[in-house]
Symmetry: C2
Subunit: 304 residues, 2 copies
């Protein structure tokens, strides 16, 4: 069966790894690029890299970056008068040098990503949501607008987010293959990524929200357990944006898109509620281990 | 005394190291930027880096790059579909990330270079010849025009060069401090760099050749020994461009600029010749060791 999944970084990548492990699943990953930025002159695409590294089972211990990576370059860079809060390993840096060099040579981000997936032996199709720039920015109550990476990495997602925007998204078009992958999918999965910060930027690209809404079957996976994000600021951001807490907030964030929402077993009570046309199903959603991710994926693809 | 030296890469940097070792010498290095290029998206300035690393006594075994550098990133990059003939060490990469990041943030190359020299504890003033882009290109008889790095690194300076050009040089202006350093110098030294490929691009910048011609005392150091370059293609390039071999070729390359030319002791016969207004003096010019460089520098600064 054809499965197309929308993914942000770590959580979404783990869901993809589970889906990729299933036989008879032809997987296409559509990946958020709202976190992309130019760092030290290099074009970084953190979610694409996290997805590819995780699908290759080479992700770092925190879920991002490469396993067993060294940090020679960033350590040398610390001597210079430059902010070095964006720490990047040496192997990861090579990925970003490749991307930067190829983009400068005229390749699209899709082409770069296809080549990168091939280098890492990834069999799934990995597509950036768009080849055109999208930049997620958050508005902190006390500081005003910040780029995603400044908020997320430098500020370690502290501070109250009361608005988000996706610069460029409304003018961007889906990358080649994205709309077809949504249209032709037997199942569309929205992974357990941060709804406002990782999924909304994809939905903001012209045509994507409509294609998801029109898809045959759409299953979302909540990133919250007992109302809290496993890691990252999803719950805080959702609250700051005025969404209801917990499952209700996730459902509101994806209003009109889902046929089913998977919540964690800890939130089994929510599966009893009446959520209108959306079925809520409780399953174990802690999927840092590949076995758990595969078990969850196996349940998800049985949605009819 | 104030000494201002024009320098390309390895040979010029070694001459600078000798001059910097002398007491009572206030040294300004004006450095070629014609070899600069964008590699893997990074702005590389090989001659500036070679000069700073050498003045800091941290140069690599071949004279360029950093001593004891690792190559984690370039080794990781080799997996990707990208030409990786420009091999760069991890520490050296940090220098280039710093330069690229700061240039993108609006710093000039002069500002970047000043900060870089400070990080490496270099006391001499190091100035790029210009903050504006200059690109040395060589015309190979069989291939047409190539960028300097493609010719020098990728092709390992094989092939017959029958023309050179310095794109951007005629529109570039000297970096802040360059003309003053030439005007105020008690002595201007043209280091043992490749005359057409490393020194001409500097002389092509508006006002520099005139400032050298007007300088109080100008001493050049021949890069040739017995008519051959110690390393690099200076002799072949000069021949290809129709310059006479040996000392006569160097003198012609610097026509109208020098008061004295230092040639190697192996070419002592040339010191006997009549070279018009230019005195030719024979001294040991093999200066890969700092002691030899200092001894030569000590002789040079005695020019009156």
């Amino acid at each position: 069966m054809k499965v197309t999944a929308l993914s942000g970084g770590v959580g979404g990548a783990r869901m993809l790894r589970g889906l990729a492990a299933l036989e008879d699943v032809e997987l296409t990953a559509i990946v958020n690029t709202g976190d992309d930025e130019t760092i030290y002159g290099l074009r970084v695409s953190p979610d694409i890299d996290t997805v590819i590294y995780t699908l290759a089972d080479k992700q770092g211990p925190q879920g991002w970056g490469l396993a067993d990576d060294s940090h020679r370059v960033i350590e040398a860079l610390e001597k210079f008068p430059l902010e070095t809060w964006f720490r990047i390993g040496d192997g990861d840096l090579a990925t970003n040098l490749f991307r930067t060099a190829r983009l400068q040579a005229g390749w699209t981000l899709s082409q770069v990503t296809t080549a990168q997936a091939a280098v890492f032996g990834v069999k799934a199709t990995v597509l950036p949501v768009s080849d055109e720039p999208i930049r997620t920015e958050v508005h902190l109550e006390d500081e005003g607008w910040l780029s995603f990476q400044t908020y997320f990495v430098d500020r370690q997602h502290r501070g109250r987010v009361d608005d988000v925007r996706f610069s460029g998204a409304w003018a961007a078009t889906p990358a080649p293959g994205v709309l077809a992958a949504l249209r032709e999918a037997d199942l569309v999965v929205i992974g357990p990524s941060n709804p406002p910060l990782s999924v909304w930027p994809m939905l903001a690209v012209d045509g994507i929200a409509d294609a998801v809404a029109d898809a045959r079957s759409v299953v979302g996976v909540s990133p919250l357990i007992g109302g809290r994000a496993i890691k990252g600021p999803a719950d805080k951001v959702m609250e700051g944006l005025g969404l209801p807490p917990g499952t209700a907030g996730v459902l509101q964030a994806y209003d009109g898109l889902l046929h089913e929402l998977i919540v964690d077993s800890a939130d089994a009570d929510d599966a009893e509620g009446d959520w209108g046309e959306v079925r809520v199903r409780a399953l174990p959603t802690r999927i840092s281990e590949v076995e758990a991710a595969t078990a969850l994926a196996n349940q998800i693809v049985q949605f009819r």
